[in-house]
């Protein structure tokens, strides 16, 4: 039981938070509010998936917020200039997210400079570029279908079908991962199985109540869910994921074992750049326009989600599942405090304390096991 609490501490904290908020504010649990909450989480969550990989490598990416801003500006301006929506999105993902990410990763890996410095530089450069491109004023979106991406919904019936498929796939995954090999025999880890089933069913019910009770699954949430699943699969099952854990564990050992550090690091920053760009595009779509200051401070929420989710700043340890829970906690705190009428200035103070608390728990846990 003690171990269960320790391993699932953030999840339990999230449940408590939700229970407390539902008492304090009756409207918190409404489908409408929760739908909005989840949609807000996706913007930060998509970035945080990339940030998880960066921090797994004991790195950091401060430029994600500026990348969000620049991407929103670029995609809007491209469409204003008459370029089609999909082409504009593609150009932005590759030309803004990919290029900035490549620069971050390549420079820090090739010349062995801490990514803190490189991404701090890129953070300022990208922000400057957005201001230059917009002359410092907001730019409106002119394309109608574009707005659908960020604010549209998947209709209720298809949403329900998607949720049911997710439930079935989730249960299959739980059954498969609960098998463990002990002393050469395959044994089912009962605790893991029960926990997994409860979580999956709870997730399904939550999804049902939140989305079907309102207008269906918001499109950004669906995109986020796909990104999260790909992210989890990448870290858990692929060679690339394995390499990240190895590099984060001990870069020198990984290199001497034949792993191409430059390529892996660059790749991770490119992924983070592209995800940040995607987040920026979604934001521009929902706001129906872009302002050059969009995404300011997003790096902090992303880093906070990753750290709260249990990824170690020292690298080598962490999961995307944890990050998603971390992102939801940040979202719930933001949403809850707004509902309670707490000034957003205070929200920043509270978030700051929570980040410190999360890191302290990580450090203390480490000391326990050492």
């Amino acid at each position: 039981m003690k171990k269960f609490i320790k391993n699932n501490g953030t999840f339990i904290a999230l449940i408590f938070l939700i229970i407390i908020l539902s008492f304090l504010s009756p409207s918190f649990l409404s489908s409408r509010n929760l739908t909005n909450l989840v949609r807000q989480v996706t913007i930060n969550g998509i970035i945080a998936v990339g940030m998880t990989m960066v921090i797994l490598l004991a790195g950091i990416d401060l430029s994600v917020g500026s990348t969000v801003g620049l991407s929103a500006v670029v995609v809007t301006l491209l469409m204003q200039s008459g370029i089609g929506m999909w082409l504009a999105i593609l150009i932005t993902l590759v030309g803004v997210g990919g290029v900035l990410g490549f620069f971050n990763g390549f420079m820090s890996a090739k010349f062995d400079i801490h990514p803190f410095i490189i991404t701090l530089g890129v953070m300022t450069i990208a922000r400057g570029l957005s201001l230059v491109l917009t002359q410092g004023v907001s730019v409106p979106v002119t394309n109608r279908t574009f707005a659908e991406i960020g604010s549209g919904y998947i209709p209720k019936i298809p949403s329900l079908i998607i949720l049911v498929i997710a439930l079935v796939l989730g249960l299959i995954a739980v059954f498969r991962t609960s098998m463990e090999i002990k002393n050469g025999d395959k044994v089912r880890n009962k605790a893991k199985l029960t926990g997994g089933i409860i979580l999956t069913v709870a997730g399904f019910l939550a999804g049902f109540l939140i989305f079907i009770g309102y207008q269906g699954i918001p499109i950004p949430v669906a995109i986020f869910a796909v990104i999260v699943m790909i992210g989890i699969y990448t870290l858990r099952k692929t060679r690339f994921g394995r390499k990240l854990y190895a590099i984060g564990g001990n870069e020198k050992v990984a290199w001497l074992s034949g792993i191409n550090i430059l390529r892996s690091k660059t790749m991770v920053f490119v992924i983070t750049g592209v995800l940040s760009a995607a987040s920026g595009i979604l934001l521009a779509s929902r706001l129906n326009g872009a302002s050059p200051n969009l995404g300011d401070g997003f790096e902090l929420d992303a880093i906070a989600s990753v750290i709260i989710g249990g990824t170690s700043f020292m690298g080598g340890v962490g999961t995307i599942t944890g990050t998603v829970i971390g992102a939801i906690i940040i979202g719930v705190i933001n949403n809850g405090m707004s509902l309670l009428g707490i000034n957003s200035f205070y929200q920043m103070i509270v978030k700051g304390f929570i980040i410190i608390l999360a890191v302290m728990i990580d450090v203390l846990n480490r000391r326990d096991t050492a």
Partner: protein
């Protein structure tokens, strides 16, 4: 000599599930150098922790008498006050402070404003250092000294505390031959001034040279009584340590030299800090299937740098040509070397060989990760099966494949490092100090394994600083000195004197 200063009597120390010390008894006389030997895990360090107050009284059973008076230290400070000092394997100093500040840390002479009286501090430091006949300027930063000199500072620090019993825990593992000589001189002088020494070491030759007497620990218990070093042979000491004879230590097999496999020509590695100097200077050699090639030399002779250059560690900075089975290789990184069929078991397994907080599977499959995955997904089942096979074959003792390798003993960790390279199925296996810091039993297992590999057609190259090991295991020996190859000897012509002659820089005919 003759006056008894310390007696440890019936010391028992239990950890959950294990008895680390089981009725340990020994005495130490004034001005005696007592060697404490035993395999890893025999209890040497635990015993010293009991002596120095790291484990305070109620956590152990038994009595410690200092000058015939019972002492029970509550903490290390009390032990220090009573005159017990320890020189640890890893030095306990601050590199950015001056030598004098390190010696008198927290005990600097202060003026009435709380400022440090620097002149007095330097003067006191000079006084202590002169006791060691050490020409070290107390004003310079500690970090500017060599490891050997830093150790001298640590000794000076202990002396400044009026230490009467000084414990050395594996003091020579990071020292050069010259520094070891210097250290021994100092230890002998300490003995002459009536300081008693407990000397812990794996290296039995050192003990033979230095110690007056020896106490052997095995599985937490003293084996026999304290013996005078003059009345015992190394074989007998080893026998007590492991409970078997030295003949078993080097399981030699006569191999037949077959075709040439690895050949390197004119390997050079520049010294990054000194453009005029080369760490490896124009070294050429060949290795053959069916033999073990030993590389001998003193610390800093460039042996590790030579094999690192072959393994691609220096990228474009190293020069020279590498051929494998007659084909020229273009190695610019470890990844290239691994792809070409060369594996390197690095010297420092904790920093360079293992992902300490990862499990066995992940560690052992890392260099051959490509063979365990399709384009996208890892084949975790195959990974576990292969890992399990090698864990069995190498006799790695572990509760499961999922424990972090940091939990394993040194010998088992070393086997994991070797295992991860065996899985790559390389043609050439280079081992850099493969038995450093592992116990005698595990050493023999590593030697057996090397022989098996040679038999199965792998070309094995071994670097070792221990002469008995180099002579016992190699079929051919390359000796290096100051970056250059100074000799290439057949097993028959290699004896300790010859190797040392070439290792200390006598350039011979090749």
């Amino acid at each position: 000599m003759g006056e008894e200063i310390l007696e440890m009597k019936n010391i028992i120390k239990d950890f959950p599930g294990v008895r680390a010390l089981d009725h340990v008894n020994f005495t130490l006389e004034k001005g005696e150098i007592l060697a404490l030997v035993g395999e890893n895990g025999a209890g040497k360090s635990t015993l010293m922790k009991v002596l120095s107050g790291v484990w305070p009284y109620p956590t152990y059973e038994g009595d410690i008498y200092l000058d015939d008076a019972l002492v029970r230290f509550e903490n290390t400070r009390e032990a220090e006050k009573a005159g017990i000092g320890i020189i640890h394997q890893e030095l306990n100093l601050l590199p950015d402070l001056s030598v004098a500040e390190n010696i008198f840390l927290d005990r600097q002479p202060l003026n009435k404003f709380g400022g440090i009286k620097w002149e007095e501090l330097y003067h006191n430091a000079e006084k202590v250092l002169s006791r060691l006949n050490m020409d070290i300027d107390p004003r310079i930063d500690l970090g500017d000294l060599t490891v050997g000199k830093q150790q001298m500072v640590e000794i000076a620090k202990a002396l400044s505390l009026d230490t009467r019993i000084l414990v050395f825990d594996e003091p020579t593992s990071a020292l050069t031959e010259a520094e070891i000589k210097e250290l021994f001189t100092v230890i002998n002088e300490l003995r002459a001034s009536d300081v008693s020494i407990i000397y812990i070491s794996h290296k039995l030759e050192e003990i033979e040279e230095l110690a007056d007497s020896v106490v052997v620990l095995r599985d937490g218990a003293t084996i026999g009584d304290k013996i005078n070093i003059s009345e015992v042979t190394l074989d007998e000491i080893i026998n007590r340590m492991v409970g078997r004879d030295i003949e078993d230590l080097f399981p030699t097999v006569d191999f037949e030299r077959q075709e040439k496999t690895l050949e390197v020509k004119n390997i050079s590695v520049p010294d990054p800090f000194n453009p005029d100097k080369k760490l490896v200077d124009d070294v050429s050699f060949a290795a053959y299937k069916g033999e073990i090639l030993g590389i001998s030399g003193l610390m800093g002779a460039g042996r590790t740098e030579l094999v690192n250059a072959i393994f691609g560690v220096y990228g474009k900075k190293s020069e020279g040509e590498i051929f494998l089975n007659g084909k020229k290789l273009n190695i610019k990184s470890p990844a290239d070397a691994i792809d070409s069929g060369i594996a390197l078991v690095t010297e420092d397994r904790k920093e360079l060989g293992l992902l300490l907080d990862k499990n066995l599977v992940m560690n052992m499959t890392l260099p051959s990760i490509k063979t365990f995955s399709s384009k996208f997904a890892m084949d975790t089942h195959k990974e576990r099966t292969i890992t399990e096979k090698y864990v069995d074959e190498l006799n790695i003792k572990t509760p499961s494949l999922d424990v972090f390798v940091e939990k394993l003993s040194g010998g088992n960790q070393q086997k994991v490092v070797i295992g991860k390279w065996l899985i790559t199925d390389s043609d050439v296996l280079i081992l850099d100090e493969p038995t450093r810091g592992i116990d005698v039993g595990a050493k023999t297992e590593v030697y057996r394994l090397m022989n098996q590999l040679v038999e199965s057609g792998v070309t094995v190259i071994m670097i070792s600083s221990e002469l008995p090991e180099i002579m016992g295991m190699s079929d051919r020996i390359i000796v290096m000195s100051e970056g250059k190859k100074t000799a290439e000897l057949e097993k028959a012509e290699a004896d300790q004197e010859t190797i040392m002659k070439y290792a200390t820089g006598n350039k011979g005919a090749e």
